[in-house]
């Protein structure tokens, strides 16, 4: 039965690939080639050289950090796919309607998820690390132990992921679990930014900052000894079997006792008040509620809100570790404008594309497109300007620039958002996507490419700023010229908003996925 389920899943995957559009296939192949030809050799070389050359005193810490980093990434990845594959798709209910036991379903899904999201990543990692460790000590048994260690680790991660999903699914609605975990996934991207800010150029310098750890891989993964080298892997395999059996118990109990469905209900919210308001205010309030109650949505948008900080880093990389940002006033103002442009474009596009989800309902309402677009514009301005102003005011506090620069920055943020939000809305309304399995996916490939290209150009320009603006001090005249130009753009953007209103009247061209 397990083989039958796995075979069905394999066929479904093949069919999915067969019916994919040619353009999508080409994109996937290009991404695959990019990973294989650039990223993989880079990571392999880096990992191999670090592991092979690091001081023996740091080996335990390095291996522990590798294991923990894999744990964070793989557990979040596995949880996301388990929820998507088993719960949001309703496949549990489907399989359980056949003469298949919950245990058989668990084993089949476990094998699939372990192979796809753990072993496929950890096996190459184990080979690289194992080869480096074996080369260090000239003991090739270390290679085998490294492979066993990382594969068993992968089984642990898959078990933890299954356990977390099915334990929490018993306590709260699966959708909420999915949203919270997706939010954590989004937050984990912040780690990348943090690393960019904090990491110095010396890897061993960072390792030296950690206290001594009570774990030792000596005898098993390095400095091979026959007793530890044989007993260690056997113990790991036994522990893996035990944790898989425990996970099976949790999952089977969850499926058999309550069944896991998408509509698992929770309690009521605080009693509200029935009242009416102006349609535009109501539309903007509706958007506010849809945004803040959807944690999955916040997870997608959060990294965009933090992007301006990355721009700050790019525009003064040499001084990132200093107590104050040594940035010219013109640099600060340009960075604020660039950050506002990128954020306003994406947020505007994402929120407008979200309307596709309930577009039929909006269309039947007696509200003209102009009001729908205006309400969305107001909401997008509220969702961008205050946040950006706070971020850049904090940045200004850490700089040596004067109050006049802060005022220019705030004016620039407001005007850029007023100008860029309608453009973002136009992009978002061009061909929005509605996906049941991936509800936070709102934009089509073309819109994503357009926004990414703009982001890329802004990033490039901002990173070049220190060279272009070196020695140029921003005066009142320059400031007023910039503000006037931006004000003209903000007024001109009303014409773009008119085009968006037209799309609300005519109807969006919506692509329904899944």
């Amino acid at each position: 039965m397990i083989r039958l389920i796995l075979d069905t899943e394999r066929r479904a995957l093949l069919n999915y690939w067969r019916v994919l559009g040619e353009s999508r296939k080409i994109v996937y192949i290009l991404i695959g080639l990019l990973l294989m030809l650039i990223l993989l050799p880079l990571v392999t070389t880096l990992l191999f050289s670090i592991t092979a050359s690091i001081d023996q005193g740091y080996l335990d810490l390095l291996l522990l950090m590798l294991s923990l980093a894999s744990a964070i990434i793989l557990v979040l990845l596995s949880i996301h796919f388990i929820i998507k594959d088993m719960i949001l798709s309703g496949s549990i209910a489907l399989y359980m309607s056949y003469p298949i036991s919950a245990a058989e379903l668990f084993y089949a899904k476990f094998i699939r998820h372990n192979l796809f999201y753990s072993t496929s990543i950890l096996l190459p990692l184990s080979v690289v690390v194992g080869a480096a460790l074996a080369a260090r000590d000239g003991q090739w048994m270390l290679m085998l132990n490294s492979i066993i260690y990382f594969i068993v680790l992968g089984m642990f991660f898959t078990s933890i992921s299954f356990g977390l999903v099915f334990l929490t699914a018993n306590m709260m609605p699966v959708k909420k679990v999915s949203e919270i975990l997706a939010f954590l996934g989004g937050m984990s991207f912040l780690l990348i930014y943090i690393i960019m800010f904090i990491v110095a150029d010396s890897f061993t310098g960072i390792l030296a900052m950690f206290p001594e750890i009570p774990i030792s891989f000596s005898g098993i993964l390095y400095d091979y000894s026959p007793v530890a080298g044989i007993l260690g892997p056997i113990l790991m395999i036994v522990a893996a079997i035990a944790i898989i059996l425990l996970t099976k118990f949790i999952v089977v109990r969850a499926i058999d006792r309550v069944g896991i469905t998408e509509g698992h209900s929770t309690g009521r919210r605080k009693a509200g008040r029935s009242s009416i308001s102006h349609p535009v205010i109501m539309l903007a309030c509706k958007d506010m509620k849809l945004s803040f109650r959807n944690i999955r949505e916040l997870a997608v948008l959060l990294p965009i809100y933090v992007l301006p900080l990355v721009l700050v880093y790019f525009s003064s990389p040499a001084e990132a570790g200093a107590q104050f940002l040594v940035m010219e006033g013109s640099q600060l103002v340009s960075t604020a404008a660039g950050g506002a442009l990128v954020t306003a474009l994406y947020i505007g596009a994402h929120h407008t594309a979200r309307d596709a989800e309930h577009f039929q309902m909006l269309q039947v309402l007696p509200v003209p497109g102009s009001q729908l677009a205006f309400a969305k514009y107001i909401f997008n301005i509220l969702a961008t300007v205050p946040f950006l102003m706070i971020i850049f005011t904090i940045t200004w506090f850490f700089s040596t620039a004067g109050v006049d620069i802060l005022l220019y920055m705030l004016a620039c943020i407001l005007l850029v958002c007023l100008a860029a939000v309608p453009v973002g809305m136009l992009i978002g309304s061009s061909n929005p996507v509605v996906s049941r399995k991936n509800p936070s996916r709102r934009l089509d490939t073309a819109s994503n490419i357009i926004i990414t290209m703009i982001m890329f150009v802004v990033f490039m320009m901002i990173s070049m700023l220190p060279f272009w603006l070196e020695g140029n001090v921003m005066g009142v005249r320059q400031g007023l010229i910039i503000i006037n130009i931006l004000a003209i753009c903000a007024v001109a953007a009303w014409f773009v908003l008119g085009r968006v209103a037209g799309r609300y009247d005519e109807g969006f061209k919506i692509t329904y996925k899944d």
Partner: protein, 248 residues
């Protein structure tokens, strides 16, 4: 109140709806029935201004209906077969939203809301997120949202799907009274006993074309069976038409 003339909808080279003609007057409870894929939902979407017709016209309250006609939309309501309510709002917030965009007087809104909540047995259940409602409860909230501003014409696509027996009966009675008060109900359904029970006029659509229209008695005459139920008439007429080679 509603006049449809030579209405066409073409997708590529094939017609989803072809040469449809009918009128619906005030106080009528009009049932629009047909097999799956016969063009019911496409027609209803054209009537409500959600979809542009390829040809012909839809006249509502003496004016051409179209996507931008918000003043006409203010006088109608439409509930699709799967209402796309906003899951992250509570039932109450959704109804506040609807009342605001239809600009209902607050006192009238509160009074009507109370009546409809009692009718659909939804009292005390409005402060839960819509995404946590069952299908039937979502349908009830959608129905309340559609009825609360007392539209002159009410379009319902499969309104009884998911409703419990009590709400089903209450809805039937409500729709009857609603039509008797001079307003119009336009209903599509596969539940032929519902159409037989409450409709004052019935139109059968098949392969995008009008197959028959009339009261139940008139349809019986057309089918040549004076005692037949709507189900028998429907099957009789659609099977005859399905065997007719000129129909394809």
């Amino acid at each position: 109140m509603l006049k449809v003339e030579k209405l066409d909808k073409k997708y590529g080279s094939s017609y989803a709806v072809r040469d449809l003609n009918f009128t619906v007057g005030s106080g009528e409870l009009f049932a629009f029935i047909g097999p799956n894929g016969s063009g019911k939902s496409t027609t209803i979407r054209m009537l409500t201004g959600l979809l542009k017709a390829s040809g012909g016209s839809v006249e509502m309250f003496g004016e051409e209906m179209g996507p931008g006609k918000t003043h006409l939309k203010a006088r109608l309501s439409f509930i699709p077969d799967t209402p796309d309510l906003m899951g992250k709002l509570t039932g109450r917030e959704y109804l506040n939203f609807i009342a605001s965009v239809y600009k209902i007087d607050e006192a009238v809104f509160l009074e009507e809301q109370q009546k409809l909540l009692a009718l659909f047995d939804l009292e005390g259940k409005l402060d839960t997120l819509i995404e946590e409602y069952s299908h039937g409860m979502k349908q009830k909230v959608a129905l309340i949202g559609a009825l609360i501003h007392k539209p002159d014409i009410l379009f319902l696509d499969e309104p009884t799907v998911g409703l419990d027996p009590k709400s089903n009966r209450n809805l039937k009675n409500y729709l009857r009274e609603y039509a008797e008060s001079g307003r119009t109900v336009f209903l599509t359904t596969h539940n032929l006993s519902l159409a037989e029970e409450i409709a004052t006029d019935i139109l059968i659509i098949y392969n995008g074309r009008k197959l028959a229209q009339g009261t139940l008695a008139e349809l019986r005459k057309m089918a040549g069976n004076e005692t037949a139920g709507l189900e028998d008439i429907f099957l009789e007429l659609t099977e005859v038409s399905g065997n007719d080679p000129s129909d394809t």
